[in-house]
Amino acid sequence: MIEGRGLTKYFDAGFLGDPSAAAVDSVDIHIGPGETLALVGESGCGKSTLGRMLLYLIHPTRGDVLFEGKNLAKMRGSELRALRWKFQIVSQHPDNALNPRWTVARSILEPFRIHSKRLNGRGMNGELERLIDLVGLEPEQAARYPHQLSGGELQRAVIARAIALDPAFIVCDEPTSMLDVSIQASIIRLLQERQKAIGCACLFITHDIQLARILGDRVAVMLGGRIVEEGEKILDHPLHPFTQRIVSPHGISQGNGLPEDCKIIPGACTYLPFCPRGTGRCHTLPEIQDYGDRRVSCHMVA
């Protein structure tokens, strides 16, 4: 349904920056209809950049994004905009995801204003009632401005906007990381429930291994801009040494991550400086290869 081929992104490093640093490097990724792909990795590994490239919010330096078989790079601007009702994003910061100058209701209904044909003759008010009922907001809350709502309520409003047009593909970029622990579960449940009802594909970006295990039909692990392991049950039986490390009892979120100041060796496997199993072969970058139920990028797995 949505597919990325050889996606690579170099950000403009400026006059003195390192132009060879790729945020995302040759990533192949696909998500089927109704499927959830959980993308895990440390902060700064390129998860969000990859998600935004799939939405074509960030244009890839190399590689193509194919949506329902059509190459987004080959589309004209107006054509792409007309197709965009099928794409939605739920971002990490609910407090700036809604225009502070607009009432929450107006923000929720914005997709209908952009794609007025999608209303199909239904009234805006009816749609608003349906949406806020689905996400569990009060009509009175929808009439307020974003700064008058709590983080959890804001995220519900963001979800209401995201599901307004029954999209085909939603990117959820760490939607609960800024929320209170007590609210996270209810937001996750809401997202899961709405996704099932609409039947849309979902890229769920997170650094929480447990969340990825619960939500992901498939899981992809990213490291330094590349996918190192991807498949259905990889978190239960990890093959790549990095996946093994992050599923270990401590996990990446509890300070088991990689030391930040460590230099990556050019041309070598990204994980080599930390890998307990590294050998001479690992000084060449391993290709990602199929191993039955999964794809792994490691010389030592075969």
Binding site: L80, F87, Q88, N99, P100, E110, H115, Q148
Partner: protein, 292 residues
């Protein structure tokens, strides 16, 4: 929402919110009172002024203040009080028109430069060129070409004036551009025009109001300096800068000519600075520098 702490960046202020702010902020209230009083006096000049500002009474030159001439008369026997009251009309009209024009040009240039990375360098270098010249250096040749008419003065203020506005609006655009609601709108297929005018512009209103208020004061100063240099509105139309210019030579004989016009300018600039700096504190409590 606590009283006295309305964040203009967060939402449109309601009438009640505004009243709460005013009750807690004497400086802002004082500024607004002076500002609107001066505006009212100027607009109501035909009602307030006892004489026609151009009416000469040559038998009654340099008169001392009397009930008939509250501030005395000038070298042609014209009523100084009436001339001061009328003098604000042309100064304030030019100041308001040129500020609005500066804001509009600044919004267009600033928003497009901030939103489209490709336009950023060309538009901002052009802005830098206009910022590099002292305002008066650009104003003098324009007055020389167009002539010392109201249109000429507006152009002379506008040409060097819009650049500061463009810079401020560009930086606000850059910060709003990266927020989640702009991204979500773009992901949902909104056009650039929709994003620029529905999302980015309303979120720049705070800084725009602030620099426009401060700008209004500096425009009055520019207008009166042009008048003082003899390049402003020409006599016999009453104008504050021209009045100071003419009154200066007669400062001992008839001090009220220059002093009355001068104090009006001081009051007006004081009011705009009070309002502008207080708005700045409300909009951005962390910074205390003044842009203009």
């Amino acid at each position: 929402m606590d009283a006295g702490c309305v964040n203009l960046q967060d939402r449109f202020p309601t009438l009640r919110g505004i009243m709460d702010v005013l009750r807690g902020n004497v400086t802002l209230t004082a500024g607004l009172v002076i500002f609107f009083t001066l505006f009212l006096i100027t607009i109501l000049a035909p009602v307030i002024a006892p004489h026609d500002p151009a009416e000469q009474d040559l038998g009654n030159r340099f008169a001392s203040p009397t009930p008939e001439y509250p501030l005395g008369t000038d070298q042609f026997g014209r009523c100084i009080f009436s001339r001061t009251v009328y003098g604000g009309q042309i100064s304030l009209a030019i100041a308001v028109i040129s500020t609005v024009a500066c804001v509009l040009i600044g919004i267009l240039v600033g928003m497009y430069a901030g939103y489209y990375p490709r336009l950023d360098a060309p538009l901002m270098r052009m802005t830098d060129i206009f910022l590099a010249f002292p305002a008066i250096v650009l104003a003098l040749p324009i007055i020389a070409i167009v002539g010392p008419t109201p249109l000429g003065i507006i152009l002379a203020i506008l040409l060097p004036g819009w650049a500061k506005f463009a810079r401020v609006i560009r930086s606000s655009t850059l910060s709003v551009k990266s927020s989640g609601f702009v991204e979500a709108s773009k992901a949902a297929g909104a056009t650039d025009t929709h994003i620029l005018f529905r999302h980015i512009l309303p979120n720049c209103y705070g800084p725009i109001i602030e620099i426009a208020t401060l700008g209004l004061g500096s425009k009055i100063i520019t207008i009166t300096s042009l008048g003082f240099l003899g390049l402003g509105v020409q006599p016999p139309i009453p104008e504050w800068g021209t009045m100071i210019n003419q009154g200066l030579t007669m400062l001992e004989k008839a001090p009220m000519i220059a002093l009355s016009a001068g104090s009006m300018i001081v009051l007006f600039v004081l009011a705009t600075n009070l309002i502008g700096s207080e708005l700045r504190k409300i909009i951005d409590p962390r910074s205390d520098t003044i842009v203009i």
